[in-house]
Symmetry: C2
Subunit: 423 residues, 2 copies
């Protein structure tokens, strides 16, 4: 039994013999291990991901490594991130059924999760780079966020359960540490692992690092990220953590899950749409991307509208937690009191998500973990021009987030900056 052996990384060669007696896997893909075909497809930065195909089906085996895959042994990272990913997936499935891959098996000692092989799904980021307009992503992701964030908070859960779960996820400290440093701090000083398109961006980078208001906002957002344990977050909800077909949308890879502010997931997600928007200019070799840009802004609007509508619906129908209890409002005949409180809660999420979004844009261009939207633009001047616009946009959001009132204003701002000729 794998469970009893010490951790050992799987390989394409050893997987069939090591997992050949796993009942869940056999049931799913077929018992004849000699027919199993294995390939490793992990394009992520951290873990191994195998696709295993047998006579009667296929599955994904994801295994953590005791270090950061992208970097190697020199950056150790605990295996327990797999434990948190597993527990986050089960909670997300419960709170937003159908939104994540089905889990077949979890082996804590081997830090591996056997799960549904999403096919023919591709990573959303890739689809957006290719200029594909997917009709359902805004609705699907908006619903996912509203349901997981609402139902994982004291708005819905029993306080005792949430506190116990919070204690469980508090141990995901190494992955929180990555976010705390790489997202909120490193981009704003000369941190060791930073990189940016140089020399084109040197000027604006220096400007941002000297921007007091921006840095103060970034740290206030970090303060909220670290202290405000409002709900169970996905923690890494960008377009590289979402797999899509024309009609279906699934969220994967919640290994950064922990209790944080609701606005964080929403802000990171929207930031990735906005980065896609600013990167489109770099992908116009095969034709103009005007329609794609318009589509992307519509997606941000619809995502927020759907999120807000679903969150409000859950507020009115599933507010069973200890916060804003009905005994104080509806039960006293004061429905409008509950609506007033909802407005406050949504306003807070809105204000904070703009901040998180701005910071996320910056770290993807100035920090360690860049994203393919910009990275795949081969022409460095063109890439830098796209990136510079995104940086300015991010700065505006982060610093002015309390003065921006609607998602339409953000669309207008994005379009305005995008059309500037000078960086």
């Amino acid at each position: 039994m794998t469970q009893k052996l010490p951790f050992e990384a799987l390989s394409v060669e050893t997987l069939p013999s090591r997992l050949g007696d796993n009942e869940a896997l056999r049931a799913k893909i077929g018992k004849d291990t000699s027919a199993w075909k294995v390939r490793e497809v992990g394009d992520g930065n951290l873990n191994l991901v195998f696709i295993v195909e047998g006579a009667s089906g296929a599955a994904v085996v994801k295994q953590a490594l005791p270090y950061v895959r992208l970097v190697g042994d020199s950056w150790p990272l605990p295996l327990k991130r797999s434990f948190f990913e597993y527990h986050a997936l089960t909670r997300q499935e419960e709170r937003a059924p159908g939104s994540v891959p089905t889990i077949y098996h979890f082996d804590e000692a081997q830090a591996l999760i056997i799960m549904e092989y999403l096919s023919p799904h591709i990573i959303l980021r890739r689809a957006l780079i290719e200029g594909r307009q997917l009709p359902n992503i805004a609705r699907d992701i908006g619903l996912f966020m509203a349901r997981t964030l609402f139902r994982g908070s004291d708005l819905h859960m029993a306080a005792r359960d949430r506190k116990a779960d919070l204690a469980l996820f508090a141990d995901n400290v190494e992955l929180c540490d990555i976010t705390e440093n790489l997202v909120f701090s490193d981009p704003y000083f000369d941190a060791r692992m930073n990189r940016h398109t140089s020399p084109q961006l040197d000027g604006i980078v220096a400007e941002l690092r000297a921007d007091r208001d921006l840095k103060v906002e970034a740290q206030r957002l970090k303060h909220s990220f670290a202290a405000n344990a409002e709900t169970l977050l996905h923690g890494d909800l960008h377009s590289g953590s979402i797999m899509v077909t024309e009609r279906e949308t699934r969220m994967i890879d919640p290994e950064f899950a922990f209790y944080g502010p609701m606005a964080f997931d929403v802000g990171m997600l929207l930031a990735n749409f906005w980065m896609s928007f600013f990167s489109q200019r770099g992908h116009e070799q095969s034709g103009k991307r005007d329609a794609m840009r318009a589509y992307l802004l519509e997606v941000t609007v619809e995502t927020w509208v759907v999120f807000r509508a679903e969150f409000s619906h859950l507020w009115r129908t599933e507010r069973t937690g200890m916060l804003y209890q009905k005994s104080l409002f509806e039960d006293q005949g004061d429905r409008l009191g509950a609506e007033q409180a909802l407005d406050h809660v949504l306003h807070q999420i809105w204000t904070d998500l703009l901040g998180f979004a701005g910071i996320e844009v910056h770290r993807r261009i100035l920090g360690l973990a860049h994203n393919a939207d910009f990275e795949t633009i081969a022409d460095e001047d063109l890439r830098a021009s796209c990136e510079a616009k995104a940086l300015k946009f991010g700065r505006h959001l982060a610093v002015n987030r309390r003065q921006i009132h609607s998602i339409d204003e953000v669309s207008t701002l994005a379009a305005l900056i995008e059309q500037e000729s000078s960086i």
Copy 2:
């Protein structure tokens, strides 16, 4: 060894035989148990407190019971609150040396703490009811709060240590539940255990329970209390949890300790000074209390000034945590960036503490746990008049907290309401 036996409540009679072989106690008060004199002095609502005097000294033995002492078996409450009290005391001693009783021994299974007997200290609330003006309380309590709240947060601690500690204290769920219900919700609807001076206050109670803005604020504050795990709080820092002599001030009884917003301790504490202020009119049999009222307002001002000064000092000298890192400000030659961030953090504490203070005033007059400041006013009309003023004051603070800019304004408001003739 007591540690190995199942929990059993101590009594005045059994204490010497049960703790007679406890080395810490013997060392402190003398080995001859036949000379030990024991009395039970617990005036609190929850636990047993014994004073044990021996030939060479005295000590306090505090033991939790598996239920709420005030109510009895019908309201069970876990023994582990003693564990949290012990761990909070050790952290407070570390962060604010000399501010809490010295701990001699802790026995988890028996839920008992053996600690320094504070003598001739009396409970601060009693001193204030008697009209005593203590010269050092504002400074001592201001320093205690600044030091414990700052040093227990990500402003100072290593993030990993804080997250581990947060997980530990997340299990103090039953005591959090008491605060969550009794402080933030019950006062605002017809909850079972509520009581108030009746019929005199019936009118204003009905008014407050119909006050939408107030209830929404109370719940927003509850949201912050429950989600914003900023630092290790005392959790019950009122004038009944502080023991004083003319020159010395000690904080006791942190069994409600958990990770919450900094402003909570500060707000609860100041609320208790303000309640003392409004209750003085009920204690004028033996002479006018004008000077005492002036003193109490000075105490609130000085407490906040000392808190702010010490917090700012620690910000400048001990900001070693992951938030607002020097690498982003001072190390880039931007001292003013750090000052700007400090202003934001203090502003948030200020705004929230006014809210927590307002709610604390309400729950002490409308909820289950009243306080002696008002309760000892025998004349019910006089008591109701004092309470009504405090209720109005609390409502004003909670609802207008974002529009109140200085502690002097609060003093002016308190004096104005106090001098009104009609309730």
